[in-house]
């Protein structure tokens, strides 16, 4: 690059605007690369399939049971009678899919290609092409968010339509706003759970521990809810905090849980803390 001189060409060093645009393009490329990696992992598609088909299956079972009870007049045999509840009580299945998406986004980088001599891990290639580790982590986070939201966009409306068809009643207008809010809440809950799983996997580098811990705790009979019997502080644990984002307490399991906004913020704070810790580990440690 030639310096600007009398009669020479003007200085061509990039302006700040050009630099930031270049960074944005680089980040977009990284996100595209990470999305492609996620899309080519068989585990990701199994996760999306389990979340979509599993939610649909449980929703249909719920709907037929509730409809049967309502038709027989046994209203006290079921905990709820609305189609939306039949959908959102199946949300833990989708949480499993989200956890798998978050975990494999990182753990696939650290899986050895083979146990023989000369085998490498994908993380070496990744960090060679994109040496900025924070940018890699950020791209992985964005790609995971996009995949989980995409999964929710497939799974939740399908289940809602199926539940309304199975119940055979028209959609009430008052119900619609609440249902939309809870659908968004499910997407947020799944996304935050996936990001927490991603952050933990970035520290452990193996998917086994985060998979077990997050799947065990994604159930409505999780360890966190067991601990709420002992102390109200357990409602601030990450999975219990966000439960009202989509859950309504039809079984009286979590009557003192945080309200949706507070709970969502607490869950987001957990997620940010874990992501910050994983960023620190990722930048300070050898790959």
């Amino acid at each position: 690059m030639s310096p600007a001189g009398p009669g020479g060409r003007p200085d061509q060093s990039p302006s700040r605007c050009q630099v930031s645009r270049g960074l944005a393009v680089a980040l977009l490329r990284l996100v595209g690369a990470e999305l492609r990696k996620i899309a080519t992992l068989p585990s990701s598609w199994i996760a999306v399939g389990v979340a979509a088909v599993g939610s649909l299956g449980i929703t249909l079972l719920n709907s037929s049971t509730v409809r049967g009870a309502v038709e027989k007049g046994q209203l006290d045999a079921v905990a709820y009678t609305t189609p939306a509840e039949a959908v959102f009580s199946a949300a833990p299945i989708g949480t499993v899919g989200a956890v798998v998406l978050g975990v494999v986004a990182i753990s696939s980088e650290y899986t050895a290609n083979s146990t023989g001599a000369g085998a490498g891990r994908q993380i070496a290639a990744t960090l060679t092409t994109a040496p900025n580790r924070l940018a890699v982590l950020g791209a992985k986070v964005l790609a995971t968010v996009l995949s989980v939201v995409g999964m929710a966009v497939i799974a939740v409306p399908t289940s809602l339509v199926a539940a309304y068809l199975a119940f055979g009643e028209p959609i009430a207008s008052t119900d619609l706003a609440d249902t939309a809010a809870r659908s968004g809440g499910v997407a947020i809950y799944w996304t935050l759970t996936a990001l927490m799983a991603l952050a933990v996997t970035a520290v452990t580098r193996s998917g086994i521990v985060p998979l077990i811990v997050f799947i065990v705790n994604s159930s409505l009979v999780s360890v966190s809810f067991l601990l709420t019997r002992l102390t109200w502080l357990a409602y601030y644990l990450p999975d219990a905090a966000g439960i009202r984002l989509f859950g309504r307490d039809t079984l009286g399991l979590f009557d003192r849980a945080l309200d949706p906004l507070t709970g969502g913020l607490v869950m987001a704070a957990w997620t940010l803390t874990l992501l910050a810790a994983s960023a620190a580990v990722l930048t300070c440690r050898d790959a």
């Binding site: 585990s43 599993g54 449980i58 023989g116 521990v209 065990v216 994604s218 009979v221």
Partner: protein, 278 residues
């Protein structure tokens, strides 16, 4: 090329001294006799090799300690929220519902790590007899699982005792002993089911996600809607350590359903393991 002394093949009688043939070779004094072990000896060796492999996995020791600690924490929490004077054993075994994650992980790890890389090729090169390998692997798992289950239930009981008795300040009603035995059997059996699923799927992540989703997500979701869930392996097996509801759902019936699941999946896994290329 020098011919090495070979032991007589089993089932074939020693050559008659009067029969014509090459004169018997004189064994040099430094040559060692190669002994062909009996079937039991070969199984013992295969089992020992599998135990060494299992012990060498860092994930296994992590899983063992995590299972013990979570069992103690959960049983302690349950004991702390229980009314005073509650019997200790039925309280402590409720922690089994969570501890089974550890045994499921052990069962999956015992098989899945072979397929995480290409270790299965080495394993089959050293033990080409697949029946022997599978039985040896299952035996090694059972030994490890029995130890892990005993440790987890022991830790849970100790925590429940410590909370209920106030570190020995008061006497504790232990309650019936059989749920404790049933809980140990249940833990080992659920891990064996995971072992079979991993052998069938030949992978690490898929059986881990599948088994833990079945036990921790699908099963609780199905309890709310009728009788579907009663036939699931974990709900049937839970009768081994739970309280019967006075109907046909007895511990024996639950054990039979769970055994049926294990037998069915193990049969499919065995067929795939014997018939397919590694």
């Amino acid at each position: 090329m020098r011919e090495r002394p070979r032991p007589p093949a089993p089932g074939r009688s020693a050559p008659d001294a009067s029969a014509p043939g090459p004169p018997p070779r004189i064994r040099p004094p430094h040559a060692t006799r190669v002994e062909v072990p009996s079937a039991f000896g070969r199984l013992a060796r295969a089992t020992a090799a599998e135990i060494v492999k299992l012990r060498g996995l860092p994930s296994v020791s992590v899983t063992g300690f995590a299972t013990m600690i979570s069992s103690a924490a959960i049983s302690g929490a349950l004991a702390a929220s229980a009314p005073p004077g509650s019997p200790a054993i039925p309280l402590a075994v409720q922690g089994v519902a969570f501890c089974q994650a550890g045994l499921i992980a052990l069962g999956v790890l015992a098989v899945g790590t072979e397929y995480a890389g290409c270790q299965i090729v080495t394993t089959l090169a050293t033990i080409p007899n697949r029946t022997l390998l599978l039985v040896g692997k299952a035996t090694a798992y059972l030994i490890g699982a029995a130890a892990m289950a005993a440790a987890a239930i022991g830790a849970g009981l100790a925590a429940a005792w410590a909370i209920l008795a106030g570190w020995g300040a008061t006497a504790v009603d232990w309650g019936p002993v059989w749920p404790m035995v049933g809980a140990a059997v249940y833990l080992v059996a659920m891990g064996l089911l995971a072992f079979a699923v991993a052998t069938l799927l030949r992978s690490l992540i898929a059986p881990l996600v599948g088994m833990s989703s079945l036990v921790f997500v699908v099963s609780p979701l199905l309890t709310g809607i009728g009788q579907y869930g009663h036939w699931l392996p974990d709900q049937a097996g839970a009768l081994l350590y739970g309280q019967g509801d006075g109907t046909a759902r007895t511990p024996v019936a639950g054990a039979l359903v769970l055994a049926g699941w294990i037998a069915a999946v193990m049969l499919a896994a065995g067929v795939r393991f014997f018939r397919h290329d590694a």
